[in-house]
């Protein structure tokens, strides 16, 4: 059977599932809705405008890449990310947006395929053998409301998710050093495009501390290869920084040296909740100190838990979950569409856990909240922000997920997590 007929058979099989049909219809609706909303309301107010401009600036005026006067909102990413947007900058803006979002749709199909492959690879033995439940969760991902914002704003989260899933698949499937290098390079490329996966880096180190034996164990060669692989693409940016010193200065100023108090918004990160609190009650604050503090606390706790883990099998999935949760909890602006980076990892965890594990409920409720309810609370925030400018519901479920991951890593025998054990 050739690839085409295999694909057709597979699609036909999927189409037999009612939920899959609904998911496809709903996801297509998100796509077309985003195009309509773009042309009617968001043409001059979306993130893609910045990506589109940066491609042009990279080609024509690279030294001014971080001159924020050129952008509607700040451009913060690594300079090499602009390379990625150059092909779109050649097209007219409207056409570029549509083409970009068509790519987003294709990426979501690829993400679903990768998600399926990873799930099959790590599925715990007591799960159903057929793929009915897997399809249901793939549909949950495709039906997730954060896709609407991802499409409307012309965001790049789908690209990041795909890179994260591919690298995860490679890390789990292939143990050879060359594959570990490839997996980490792919992760490094995702960081270039958007640094969401930045806090995944520490969890690539295969380091463990056995409390009973009071002994560290480190797989030095694999860890070193992974670190080199992930840092190498990021370091390529420094060639540009070296060639164009204003770029380095601009990058630092945009990302790290700003200490201005920032006004209210509905980000669900802990940093933003604190900043909103300080803003509301006129407490002097420095956003950089708050960010650093939260990274140290959440990142530190996560890394310690990860090192002290009792179980090794597929621990990288949980490391990835930690890495993304750290970013979402710590960085100032954590929006609804960023959750598209986390939900596939939560789905993988659901299948990696025993079928009726005690932490499944926590992961499942977080997944459902992120996919279908978080966006509603953004609306609620607009209603209540004059008195209560805290979009804390997303934060709450991020902490629930964080606790669930901790619980998994802290248990000696994963069967202990079964409800009826």
């Amino acid at each position: 059977m050739n690839i085409r007929s295999r694909l057709l058979t597979r699609v036909k099989h999927l189409w037999d599932h009612k939920i899959f049909r609904y998911a496809i219809i709903l996801h297509s609706f998100y796509f077309f809705l985003s195009i309509i909303l773009f042309f009617l309301f968001y043409k001059e107010k979306n993130d893609f405008l910045i990506f589109y401009k940066v491609g042009n600036i990279f080609l024509n005026d690279i030294e001014n890449m971080y001159n924020q006067a050129y952008y509607l909102w700040d451009f913060r990413y690594f300079p090499l990310s602009a390379l990625f947007f150059i092909p779109f900058s050649i097209l007219s803006f409207e056409l570029a947006f549509v083409v970009f979002n068509i790519f987003n749709v294709l990426l979501n199909i690829l993400i679903s395929v990768m998600l399926y492959k990873v799930i099959i690879l790590v599925r715990f033995k007591d799960h159903e053998n057929d793929d009915k439940r897997v399809i249901i969760y793939l549909c949950v991902y495709l039906m997730g409301l954060p896709h609407i914002l991802n499409y409307v704003y012309g965001q790049i989260n789908s690209y990041i998710t795909l890179f994260i899933l591919i690298s995860l698949y490679i890390f789990i499937k292939y143990q050879e050093i060359k594959w570990q290098l490839l997996g980490s390079i792919i992760l490094g490329i995702s960081i270039i495009i958007k640094p969401t996966a930045f806090f995944l880096i520490p969890f690539l180190i295969i380091l463990k501390f056995d409390i009973k034996k009071k002994k560290f164990s480190l797989d030095f060669s694999t860890s070193a290869v992974r670190l080199i692989g992930v840092i190498l693409p990021v370091l390529l940016n420094f060639i540009l920084f070296f060639m164009y010193p204003p770029l380095w200065q601009g990058f630092l100023e945009t990302n790290f040296t700003g200490s201005n108090p920032i006004a209210l918004n509905f980000s669900f990160s802990i940093s933003k909740l604190i900043i909103n609190f300080c803003y509301l009650f006129n407490i002097p604050f420095n956003q950089l100190y708050i960010l650093t503090g939260i990274i140290c606390i959440i990142g530190g706790i996560s890394f310690i838990i990860f090192i002290l883990r009792k179980t090794d099998k597929h621990s990288i999935i949980y490391g990835f979950a930690f890495g993304i949760i750290i970013m979402l909890l710590a960085y100032y602006d954590s929006w609804d569409h960023h959750l598209l980076n986390l939900t596939p990892i939560l789905i993988i965890i659901l299948f990696n856990l025993p079928r009726h594990s005690v932490i499944t409920k926590s992961i499942k409720s977080s997944l459902i909240f992120f996919s279908f309810f978080d966006l509603a609370f953004v609306g609620v925030w607009y209603l209540i922000y004059p008195l209560f400018p805290f979009n804390f519901e997303g934060t709450f479920f991020l902490l629930v997920s964080f606790y669930a991951v901790y619980k998994y890593l802290a248990k000696k025998n994963i069967l202990h997590l079964k409800e009826d054990y």
Partner: protein
């Protein structure tokens, strides 16, 4: 083959018309306030010593900060609004900041003129005719107006219209004129969807709030929505605790 031709044709039509489609959404700016409407702002924080250090001893003797002090209110009554193809004009009576409960006779009458098209402002524009360095009223939709205006604004200004229409201002010591301001300052001005200044915070050294002014108006839906959210959240937590304490025996 026919299908391919159709798709190519559709794509070509789309490319050719996409520019036109986008023009349909060109923004028409308008006025968010109504004739005879009263607007009241309340001062929550006013550090007079710091204001004197920054702007000099005359800082509260004229302009929008006249008699400003903590707990004081300022009232505007909109007398007339007018819009033509180039200018928005708003005439209003003003009762400067006072601590009393009675407004009495107005202190002054004034007029605001704003260009309908933000492009009509000169490049490097700043709101120097306002002591507050930001306007108290802007055209609507205010987010879009600020976004368009940002191109012409001076480097002091940074527009953030992603969530709430916000004008951030950062002025370094002596940047306007020698000794004015006498210290670095930052301002965050947030506007409501009617283009009215909703919150004004002036920050000094180490982000200490020196002035905090807020529109004395709470939309009717805020308190019920907040109560609703708290009730739903409490019920959710209670439900979770009960489920945890008394798990169902169904297996």
């Amino acid at each position: 083959m026919k299908r391919k031709e159709f798709l190519i044709g559709f794509l070509l039509i789309f490319i050719l018309t996409s520019g036109r489609l986008s023009n349909v959404s060109a923004v028409n700016y308008g006025i968010g306030v109504k004739q005879n409407e009263g607007l009241i702002w309340k001062c929550k924080v006013c550090n007079k010593v710091e204001m004197e250090n920054i702007f000099g001893s005359e800082w509260d003797s004229s302009g929008i900060f006249t008699n400003l002090s903590k707990g004081a209110n300022m009232k505007w009554k909109i007398n007339s609004t007018e819009i033509n193809s180039t200018i928005i004009s708003i005439e209003y009576d003003i009762w400067y900041w006072n601590l009393g409960e009675e407004w009495g006779i107005k202190d002054n009458s004034s007029q605001i003129t704003i260009f309908v098209d933000p492009d009509d402002y000169s490049t490097n524009y700043w709101f120097l005719n306002y002591t507050s360095l930001v306007p108290f009223l802007l055209p609507i939709p205010v987010g879009e107006y600020l976004g368009d205006l940002s191109v012409n604004l001076n480097d002091f200004y940074d527009v953030d219209n992603r969530v709430l229409p916000t004008l951030n201002v950062e002025v370094l010591k002596d940047n306007i004129s020698p000794g004015y301001p006498n210290k670095d300052l930052k301002i965050i001005a947030i506007y409501n969807d009617r283009g009215i200044l909703n919150s004004y915070k002036l920050y000094g050294k180490e982000n200490t709030v020196i002035i905090d002014i807020a529109l004395d108006f709470l939309p009717i839906y805020v308190i019920p929505s907040l109560i609703g959210l708290m009730v739903v959240f409490s019920i959710g937590v209670a439900f979770y605790i009960i489920k945890k304490k008394y798990p169902s025996n169904k297996k």
